[in-house]
Structures are given as structure tokens and as C-alpha cells.
């Protein structure tokens, strides 16, 4: 999978490049708008990450040109502008997603993967599994190591989200947004409390814990040998 990154902030660009390479992507970086557009038009990419404020050609103009000439490259817009109008404007120019700076890398990664899945028309699975844990999405049942686990609907959704992102760190904000559809900072440690309850049911009675806390970043589902 090849990612095109057009971003003039060197620190942010390095941060994204490093993370994406670790996640197994090939990534090309350009810090100039018009050169970036040329690459997007001529290169063969699966997804583009586009900053809005760029030298020589701004992100929205690049989008306009792209949509005229090469319609199907999925684009994630990066921008420090966070008003509703700015977001709507970005999507109207043909962006597929809009991520507000500053962002966590896990958030960007999740969105890139989601766009790739959408572009490849991946068929929604009816069940998910991770190591000895398996979820039946239709029957809404969970089995770990042959033992059935009872979960509340939201706990199920939380675990499903963790499995879908297995191996990748998901932040509290992402959990809030994807599992509860809440776009605010909960203030108190609500997510921690939720995770702790989920751990009681999923990890407590088993030898290998699967849900891990990554200090400062969030949570990740991984096995012992990961």
C-alpha cells in the first residue's frame, strides 16, 4: 500500500512517515503543493494525506485539480482549522476525511485504514477473532478459549472496536467517538472505568491479558508475543 503525504511541516511529516512505515506502508513525502500535485497525478497511490496550508499551491486547490483529473484517490485532509464551516468546506472540495491538528497518530492510522477498506470494498465480516478470542457479530456472542463471555451491548461494541484495530493503539478520544459517538472530553475517567470493567470480563480469568494500556496514548489489543 502506497501513501502520498503532502505536508510542509517537517516535524509532523517525519512523525507520520515514521509511524506509517512501522505500520507497514510505503510512504512518499512532498513539502511543496505543486510538486505534490504532480506526484498525485502521475504516481500510483492508494491514499493521500494532504495538509491545507502549503507553499505554492494550497490543499484545496490541489483537491480541486485532483478531482478534475483523477477522481478516485481517497484523500484525508489535515488542518488546524476546526470550525464546522472549514470541515464542511474541505469535504465539499472532494476530501474524503478531515482530521484536525493536532491529532494522535493512531487516529490518523485508523482513518487511513478505514479509507483503504472503503476503497477496496472489503466485505464486512460476520465474525472477528483475535488469538483465542472470537466475536460473532450476528449473534452478538463472545467466546474466549471455548468459554462464553456475557457482555453489555456497549462492552461488546468496545471489544469489537478493539479487535478491529488489534495491534494498533486506540486513544480514548477514538473510543469515545467510535463506540459511543460522543465528540467531547468526558472529563472524568469514564473510558478507563469502561475498560476496567471489560478487562474484568475478558482478561481476568485467563492467563494471557489481551487489553493493554499504552501510557499516554490509549489502549491496544495484543497478545503475549506481539
Amino acid at each position: 500500500m502506497r501513501i502520498l503525504l503532502i505536508e510542509d511541516d517537517q516535524i509532523i511529516a517525519n512523525f507520520i512517515q515514521k509511524g506509517m512505515k512501522e505500520a507497514g506502508f510505503t510512504i512518499d513525502h512532498f513539502d511543496d503543493g505543486s510538486i505534490g500535485l504532480h506526484a498525485a497525478l502521475t504516481g500510483n497511490y492508494d491514499v493521500g494525506i494532504l495538509d491545507l496550508m502549503l507553499p505554492h499551491m494550497d490543499g484545496l486547490s490541489i483537491l480541486d485539480r485532483l478531482r478534475v483529473e483523477k477522481k478516485n484517490l481517497p484523500i484525508i485532509i489535515l488542518s488546524a482549522k476546526r470550525s464546522v464551516d472549514d470541515r464542511i468546506n474541505g469535504l465539499r472540495h472532494g476530501g474524503d476525511d478531515y482530521l484536525i491538528k493536532p491529532f494522535s497518530f493512531s487516529e490518523l492510522l485508523a482513518r487511513v485504514e478505514s479509507l483503504l477498506r472503503r476503497a477496496q470494498h472489503v466485505v464486512e465480516p460476520t465474525s472477528l477473532s483475535f488469538q483465542d478470542l472470537s466475536l460473532d457479530l450476528l449473534a452478538r456472542t463472545i467466546v474466549r478459549d471455548g468459554i462464553k463471555i456475557d457482555l453489555q451491548p456497549k462492552e461488546f461494541a468496545l471489544l469489537e472496536y478493539l479487535i478491529r484495530n488489534a495491534g494498533h493503539v486506540v486513544s480514548k478520544t477514538m473510543i469515545m467517538e467510535r463506540v459511543w459517538d460522543y465528540n467531547f472530553d468526558p472529563g472524568t475517567n469514564v473510558v478507563e472505568a469502561r475498560i476496567s470493567k471489560l478487562r474484568d470480563k475478558v482478561d481476568k480469568d485467563f492467563a494471557t491479558p489481551l487489553i493493554h494500556t499504552v501510557r499516554g496514548l490509549g489502549y491496544v489489543l495484543k497478545g503475549k508475543d506481539d
Binding site: S83, V84, K154, W180, D185, P186, T188, V190, A193, G216
Partner: protein
Amino acid sequence: MIKLPNTLGFRLTLWYATAFLVCLVAAFLALYLSLNSILNSRMDDDLREDITEFQDWFTEEGLEKVTYEIEREAASSNESEIFLRLYDGRGNLVVASDLSDWEGLDLATLSPQQMDISLSHPIFETIKLSGQDYPVRIISGVIGPHTILQVGETLEKKEEIMELLLKVFAGMFFLGIPLASGIGWLIARTAVKGIEEVSRAVKDLEMGQLDRRVTVRGQGDEIQTLADSFNTMAARIKSLIHEMREMTDNIAHDLRSPLGRIRAMSEVALAESESTKDYKRTAADILKECDRLIHLINTTLDMAEVEAGVTHTIKEPINFSKLIADLCEFYEPVAGEKHIALTVTLEPNCQLSGDKQNLQRMVANLLDNAMKYTSPEGQIRVELTRSPQEFHLTIADTGVGIPLSDQQRVFDRFFRCDHSRAQDGCGLGLSFARSVARAHGGDIFVESESSQGSIFTSILPVTPSTQ
């Protein structure tokens, strides 16, 4: 003060003077014309009386008496002012008073028109004689069979009165120009003075003199109203700027503290960290501080957006009961951890239209606030009721409560009670909640008793948002 012709003062003066002079001319014209007409009709009455008198003499005492009276009448007045002439039936002069002063009066015979008169209707004429400065008023009337009397009187006296009047008026007119301008200028000055005072004050305010006020001694007139409005506005600007400074100070403080911590942590890490683990811990702490900063900035901006106007917020139909129930369910584990009894009583299916995300944040902030300040084993009651006009959301806790002196200020941005400083948070939660309630046409109130707990009530109107 009024130097340029293009000032309001100058225009007012001009208008006043013009209006004054127009009125003066109109008044004079009325006086002149009515006096002229009165004098004319009085003279005609006199002349008509003469004819009647002579008619009587002719009837009673005959022609001799008439001839005698003609001489006497002319002599008794002044021969240059009046003349009398008597004609026979064919229009020939019979007798006349002394006509030596009446040069140009050469009518020996009467004109056919003058002949054609009846007893009751004498005819009047005004003629200009070449030897006279003033016109002459002449009456021709029948005083007996075949006898016509003609009396002529100069208009000199009347014309002199009119001329005098005209002179007096001209004097008044030319005297009136400076007088009217002067009065006009005084009036304009009085009116404009207040405006100029306000205008100077605006300039001073613009230069940064926020304490500038206008003192206008008026009795509730427009200038006074203007001055009062200006003073109110200046006071408002002052308080806004004061608020803004305070807020900037607060933001700066709230930005500086996490930045200070980040800086300190980085320094310590560079100086002392030995293992990757140490660095990782520092990086995680820095991330936490960064998230706090981002949250602070975002909330400040979101609040500004909410306060900028309801028109900007996206409205959609919302089941408020469900929204609250979901959030209570969301916060339930937190209550469970602290062994807080969370009681939720909601009137079902309360529909309103509004910004869903912001309303969620409003309720979440209130719940979060209650969770934070309720000690373990405490209670939180969440209640939603509806009246025909309003939804009442009450969130009551058995927490530490808010001292009376702070109750008014808990909704202020960045305000934190002393006991809350230890808690996480940026001091924006309640003020954001109130901004959202207000943007939806409602409000939030607090009742609290120290160490007894607090009750926050959010009131949202059923209409117009449910339309």
C-alpha cells in the same frame, strides 16, 4: 467653533435666518396689503359721502347752495389736495373749485363713460396727472337732475404712509439679517454643542481613554439621550475590555502552567533519564499535558462558536430523554467506582431540536461536575420534567457544595472554587454548559449549600426549538 460652511451649525443658522426673513416678508406683505386696502376704502367712503352731501344740498337748497359749497369745500381743505367740478346733463363744466394746482386736469367735458352713471352708483377712477407726484382718486356722481358732481382727491397722504411703512420694513429687513443669523447661530450652537461634546468623547475613547464620559446638562432631550447612550456604551466597552483582559490573563496562566510542566519534564528527562523507559514515561506525561492544552484551546474556541450565535449551530430533532439516559448510562461505571448512587428519573420522549453534540456536552459537563465533587458513597439524582413551555433537567448531588460567594461565579470562564483547584479540568465545563443552554434559548442555574451538595437546573424551552 463654526468655521467651515459645511458644518451642521452653519446650516442650522442659515435655515433659521432664511425662515425668519421669509416670515418677516410675509408678515409685512399682509400688513402692507391690508393697510392699503383699508386706506383706499376709507377714502372712497369719504368721496361717496361728499356726493351724498351735495345731493342733499341740491335737493333741499338748489344749485346756488351747491356752487357755494363747492368753493367752500375746496377752500376749507387745501386746494392742492382736493378739487370739485360740477357738470350739466350734457357733460359741460358748470362750476369748479380752484384748479390752479391741478395741472394736467383738462377735462372740460365728461367722457361718455362718466356720463353713463346712475344716481345710486357713482363711478370711481384713479388717474395719474402729469403735474402731480401722486395719483388722484376721482368720483363722479349724479347729485340732481342733469347735474353731475366730480370730486377728486390726491392719494398723497396715503401713499406717504405706505412709503413710510416700506422704509420701516426695509430697515427691519436689513437689521433682521444679522439679527436672525445671530439668533440662529446661538440656537444652532446650543444644539450642536452637545453633539460636539459627544463627538470629542468618541475620539477620546478611540484613543484609548476608556474612562471618558460625556457630561451634558440637558433635560431629557435628544442630546441627553445621545450622551447617556454614549456613556452606557463606553461603560460596556470598558467592562468588556476588562473581561477580555482577565480572560487573556486566565488563558495565559492556563497555558503557561502545562507548558511549564512540559518544559520541566523535558529538562529533567534530558538531564537525568538513563533508560528508554524513563524517556517513555516522560513522553507520556508530556502527551498528557499537550492533550490538556489542546482541550483547553478547543473548548475556548467551541464556546466562542456557540456564543457567536444559534444560527451557526446545526439543528436537528433530538430525543432529549434518550440523550440524557445514554449519558447517564455512560457515566454509570464512574459512579459505580466511587459507590455513588445514581438515580435517574426521566420524563420519556422529550423532543426538542438543537445541536446534538453541544447538548451532549452540556449534560456530560453537568454529570462530570457532579461525579467529581460528590464524595464516595454519595448520591446523584438526575431528573427531567416538562412543563408546557420548558424542559427542566435537574442534577442534584450530595457533594461538597459551593460557597454562596462563589455561586454567581461558577459559570464564569476559568473560574474554579478553591477546593476544585486540586481537581482535573480547565474551569470551562460549566461555562460551556451555560453557553449551550443559552444558545438554545434556555439557561442554567445553581442552588447550593456548603457541604450539603449542589443542584444544577438546566431549563430549555419546548418552543420555538421544537418547531
